[in-house]
Structure formats: C-alpha cells, structure tokens
C-alpha cells in the first residue's frame, strides 16, 4: 500500500474516533433535552457516575462487560432518583432546569471527590492496537464507533417502532391530550429520563477504560455534547448522528492537518457558523426543505 493510503486510513480512524465520542457524549443529553426540554448541565456527571461505577465494580472483581453493565444500572438508578426528587418539578421550566442541574453537577463532583479522592486507578484499555505500516490505532476506540451506531439504531427502533415510543413521543408533544387518551404521562417522563440516564451511564462505562478517572471527567464530555445537540437541532434521532458526522469530520480533518489545537478551534468555529446560519440546527434545515417541497407540490 502506498504511503498516502496509510494517511487516509489515519484520517478514517480519527474520524471514527471523533464520531463515536461526539455521538456517545450526546445521546443521553439529546434525549433529555430534545424530548423533555430539560437542559441537563449535570449530563457530564451522569457520565461520571457511569464511569466510576464501572471502574469501582471492575476493581471489586467483576469482569469488564459486567462492570460496564453495573455502571449503566447505577446511572439509571441515579437518574431515576433525581427525576423523582428534583427534575419532575422542572418540566417546562427550561431556564430553571439549567440552574438546578448546574447545582446538581457541582454537588456530585464534590461528593465524588470527598468519597473517592482525586483519582481512581484506571482500567487498562482492552483489545490493543490495529497496526498498518508505521502507524497504529486503538482498536477499542474504533469499536466504540460501532457501538455508537448500534445505540442510534436501537433508539430509532425504540422510539419509532414500539408502542412505548409512540406513547413517549405523544407525552412530550402534548401532555394533556396524551393523558386524556389514557397514557400514563408521569411514567413516560420517568422512563424517558431513565433512558437518557442509562445512555449517559453507558457512555461513562464505555469510556471508563479509555480515560483517566477523576471527579472532573464529566467536563470533557459536556462541551462536545452541547455543541452537537445545538448543531444537530430538534430531531434527536437524526440530529445526533448528523452532528456527530459533521463535527467528527471537521475535527478529524483539521486535527490531522494542523494538530490538536487547530482541530479544537475548527470544531468551535464550525459550531458558531452552524448556529449563525442554522439556528434550528441541521435537522431544522432539513425540516425547512421538506416543508418547502411540500408547498411546491
């Protein structure tokens, strides 16, 4: 293989890596924000709970897949408790939800620090590297891109093809009507929040072997997640992969050419331009196009 195609492979792996990170960092947030109208500034701390629960279970002797499952379960329970005690009072109060969840995030970070100190010993990344020419790439990080796609597909099926999905979407769109049609809206809110929490927990579990464990780790996910949600727009299921694809491509291409710093700058500039040109995100634009086409027909 000529040298150029190795470099192309580098770019491809870097894209998959960024794509996986952005999609996984975003899904949980996208569901809670996009469907329920809660701006969850504690999203990073949901991921933190997943990652810590996974790492602690692993060190307690569970094999990695089971430890990851424990991480997801712990985060789900954490989310459900929060929903019942605090979040349920905040539906429809966008700005209030922001302040409250910001407070929750501060409390969680500090509690974790008090309980477990400034770091946990890390789990080594499994699977090793893929080698090609002079180069190599982490197989686990490439695998995460596959997981991201599976998660998106599963969510698509859940929210569009199942009875639960219809009820959940009905609740989010028009609670009054849904309730009058016999939907237990309270339960729908709870289960949707639980799904969002479980996904954040899954992200934490998946990145537990690939990132150092410290109480601040949520912060590294939060910015990308918010940028992706805003760029993606109102449709959660379509917006997340599209934003992940676009931002992942920009990140990989510019990082490859100009290094990490240029990559980060390019990512933020893309977000600014996207928000300026598409205030409703990519899916907002798609919706507009569809609308116009319908009018002309």
């Amino acid at each position: 293989m000529p040298v150029d195609s190795y470099e192309l492979l580098n770019l491809a792996f870097q894209f998959l890596d960024s794509f996986a990170f952005i999609v996984l960092a975003t899904v949980g947030l996208a569901i809670i924000f996009g469907m329920m109208g809660i701006i969850n500034l504690a999203h990073g701390e949901f991921i933190l709970v997943g990652a810590y629960a996974t790492t602690l279970s692993f060190h307690a002797g569970l094999p990695l897949p089971l430890a990851m499952l424990a991480g997801v379960v712990a985060t789900t329970v954490f989310g459900v408790i929060l929903e019942r005690t605090i979040i349920r009072w905040l539906y429809g109060r966008l700005l209030d939800s922001m302040v409250v969840t910001f407070g929750i995030s501060l409390v969680v970070v500090q509690l974790v620090r008090i309980q477990w100190g400034n770091s946990l010993p890390q789990i080594g990344t499994p699977l090793g590297g893929i080698s090609y020419g002079n180069y190599s790439y982490s197989a686990y990080r490439v695998l995460l891109a596959g997981v991201a796609i599976v998660v998106l597909a599963a969510l698509y099926v859940l929210f569009t093809k199942t009875d639960f999905g219809v009820r959940a979407r009905a609740t989010m769109q028009d609670e009054e009507t849904a309730r009058s049609m016999g939907v237990d809206t309270d339960r729908m809110y709870l289960s949707t929040f639980a799904i969002g929490s479980a996904l954040a927990g899954l992200t934490g579990a998946l990145y537990a072997p690939a990132t150092p464990m410290s109480p601040d780790l949520g912060a590294s996910f939060l910015v990308e997640a918010f940028v992706a949600v805003v760029v993606g727009g109102p449709s959660v299921l379509l917006g997340t992969p599209l934003a992940g694809g676009l931002l992942g491509l920009v990140d990989a291409a510019f990082t490859n050419v100009g290094g990490q710093f240029i990559g980060t700058v390019a990512l933020l500039l893309t977000a600014i331009v996207a928000i300026r040109l598409l205030p409703d995100g990519i899916t907002g634009l798609l919706e507009d196009i569809r609308e116009k086409r319908r009018e002309t027909e």
């Binding site: 400034n118 080594g124 090793g128 490859n256 990490q260 710093f261």
Partner: protein, 421 residues
C-alpha cells in the same frame, strides 16, 4: 496537633478574625492598633488546590505544608510562637487565587505565602505580591526564569529537570526528538528548553506539538509521532486529561521511549494508570516518594502516618515541606518575622536538610540548587533512579539576574537569550 485542629482554627480565624481585621486593618493603617492587625502570633498562608483541575497535584502540597507547620509547632513553634495557617481552597481558579492572596495579605496579615500549582496561577498573583511586597514561595517545578525580589522559587526549573533528562535520552536512544507539551506558558517555554538542549547536544527536534489543556483524544498526535519515527518523545503534558496520551500510547503499541519533566513526580501517573501505559518513561526530578534515602524514608513515613489516605507524596509536596522549614530557620536566624529581614536572611545562602538531600538556596536568583535524578518506570511501573547530579539554577545567572544587587520583578524567557529558538 491534628490536621483538623489546624484547619478548624484557620477557618475560625478566617471567619472571625477576617471581619475583625477588616476594621482593625483600617485602624492600623492609621497607626491606632500598631502593626498587629488584630492577629496574635505568626500566620502563614497556604493556598493550594484541593479541588478543580489541579486538585491531584495540589492536595499533597497542602498536606505537606501542614505537616511541616505541625512539626515546627510541636517543637515549640518559631521564635517561641505557634504558627497559624490560613488555608482556604482556591479550587484551581486563578481569580479565586487573586482574591485569596489579597485577603491573606490585607486581612490575615500573613508573614509568608505559599501559593499555586500552575505557572498561570503564579503569574496571576505575582502582581499582587509585588505590589504588596509579600514574601512568596512558589514550589512547583516550572519553566524557570522568574527573577523577583520577594519571590522564592523552590521547585526545579526546566533547565534543571530537562537539563538532567534530555542529554541522558540523547545519549541512550538517539538524537531525534518529538516534543509534545501543554499549550500555555509552561509548555511553550519547556518546548523551547528542549530545543536549546537538543541544540547544545547535537540533537534535533523533528516536530513539536502544543496541546490545549483538557484535550483527551490523542489519536492524531500518535499518528503524527509514528509518521516522524523519532528516537524519543519529550512530553510536557499537564493535568488529568493529558494522561490520556499515555493510555492511548500503550493501547496503540507505540513503544518509543519518553522523557518528561511533568509526569509521575506530580500526578503519580505510574500509580493511577494501568501498566504498561508509562513503560519507558524517564523523568528528570529532584524528588519522588520512591527516592531511596534515609531522609526521604523518614519523610514518607511521617507523611503517611499523618495522612494515611493520601494518594501520593509528590515532588511539590517535598518542596512545600522543606521550604516551610527553611523559612522557619531564616526567621529564627533573623530573630523576627519581619519579611524584609527574613528575605535578607534567606539571601545569605541558607542550607536545608531536605528529604531529597542537603540543598542550598542561591542568593542571586532565589532558586534552589537541586539534586536531580532520572526516574525510570519499567513495564510494571516500578520506578528506579539513575544518575544523580547536583544542578544549579544556571539560566538566571546567564541572563544576569542578581537580586542581592538589584531588585527586579521580571520573568526571563529562553528565546531572548538563545539562538536555537
């Protein structure tokens, strides 16, 4: 006295005395209450991060300072007086550092200040320190170059740390160096030092990459390194997020050896990350808790006896520890807490028995001559030491900094003095 005792007292002092001395301080400016500021006995401020970005590095600095104070107090205090400590948590926030520094100087009427992990923090509070002519100890290993009349830099400089390890690596592995460093003043200047040292030893920096703090994904950096095939990597990465690099390096099987001035001795990556992430990491250090000397063993034992749950005893913690003792020694010799006289005493070229070995303060530059060692982590993260040298803070001598002759408040950068940059 327990740690809790000290901190509870200082909290009370912070709350109660703080309010009183705001009033008292105003009055004392007019000379009504004299110079006591409403506070009795000596107070030192220890502003070290116990939360936020640098908590991992700051916590043991704080603990070691309190340990030194406790030892002094158990021994009858300094000049027969018990030392009080003012130690709120600055939370790795430079703005909070500025507020707390002002608070410490104006309301707590401190006799000496220990503050800050990062160079950015030091530069954020140095104007306040200069304005108030406050005796200040900065204990982190750093890029070097600060020539400042009231500032005493206790950590080894880049010239000392990298000066120990880079020539060693060139000798052992070859002349092609790939530099990766944190993208702020510390990392940029450290990168310049690698360049200078490479130039002095007929080696070559084949590429350098500066990485924003908080970056966690190093796939492309690793690909770039693999593309260049260097003989070794010079890494001045900083903080939790950057530790991802080592994990990803092991994960992708990148087995090029690494030299560093930042890893292991500060954030104990060799204990936090699963082996073999730090395999073949060589770090130039004046101290790590693994250093095998009697003085070090005694220090490590009393530290963990006091803080059984502490994660690690890092290089900076040692610097805090010996510098508190050094300050007390200077006060005893001066016979007063008066900061000008204590500075004069420190400038007489004081010598201390630190855990790293007996070291001396260089009067002209306010830096320490350190015992520099090369710490090496193997594939199981066992640390061994090689090649101990006693290295002077030479860069400031080269630029002509002599604080005993001329008062200055400058930070010199290597780029102004070396053609290699």
């Amino acid at each position: 006295m327990t740690r809790r005792g000290i901190s509870r007292r200082s909290v009370l002092a912070g709350a109660g005395v703080g309010t009183l001395t705001t009033i008292g301080g105003c009055l004392s400016d007019g000379g009504v209450l004299g110079d006591s500021g409403g506070d009795d006995g000596p107070t030192i401020a220890v502003l070290e991060d116990r939360s936020g970005e640098f908590a991992l590095n700051g916590t043991s600095k704080w603990q070691a300072s309190l340990l030194a104070v406790q030892e002094l107090n158990e021994d009858g205090g300094v000049l027969g007086e018990e030392i009080e400590v003012y130690d709120p948590d600055p939370q790795s926030d430079n703005q909070r550092y500025q507020e707390l520094t002002r608070e410490a100087i104006n309301s707590e009427d401190i006799d000496a200040l220990w503050a800050g992990y990062s160079s950015a923090t030091r530069e954020a509070i140095r104007p306040i320190i200069n304005e108030e002519e406050q005796l200040y100890f900065y204990t982190t290993q750093y890029e070097g170059g600060v020539c400042d009349r009231t500032t005493f830099a206790m950590g080894a400089t880049a010239r000392q740390q990298l000066g120990a390890v880079i020539p060693y690596m060139i000798e052992e592995f070859g002349p092609r160096i790939y530099t990766i460093a944190a993208d702020y003043n510390f990392g940029q200047l450290s990168g310049d030092w690698v360049q200078i040292l490479a130039d002095e030893h007929d080696a070559e920096v084949v590429a350098e990459e500066y990485i924003p703090l908080g970056e966690t994904d190093f796939g492309s950096t690793i690909n770039n390194i693999q593309g260049e095939e260097p003989d070794f990597i010079a890494s001045m990465l900083v903080g939790d997020s950057h530790a991802n690099f080592y994990e990803q390096r092991a994960d992708t099987g990148l087995d090029i050896p690494m030299a560093s001035s930042t890893t292991m001795a500060q954030g104990y990556e060799h204990l936090r990350l699963e082996p073999p992430a730090l395999e073949d990491m060589y770090v130039g250090v004046n101290y790590m808790e693994e250093v095998q000397t009697d003085a070090s063993q005694t220090f490590v034992d009393s530290f963990y006896e006091e803080y059984p749950d502490a994660d690690y005893l890092n290089q900076e913690a040692q610097n805090n520890y010996f510098s508190v003792h050094m300050w007390a020694e200077a006060v005893e010799r001066a016979g007063t807490f008066d900061q000008e006289e204590v500075i004069a005493e420190l400038e007489s070229g004081i010598e201390v028995d630190a855990p790293e070995g007996t070291i001396e303060l260089d009067p002209a530059t306010h830096h320490m001559t350190h015992h520099m060692r090369i710490g090496h982590a193997d594939e199981n993260h066992e640390v061994t030491f090689d090649q101990e040298q006693y290295i002077e803070p030479s860069f400031l001598h080269e630029v002509g900094c002599d604080l005993t002759e001329e008062s200055e408040q400058t930070q010199y950068t290597p780029g102004e003095f070396y053609d290699a940059i």
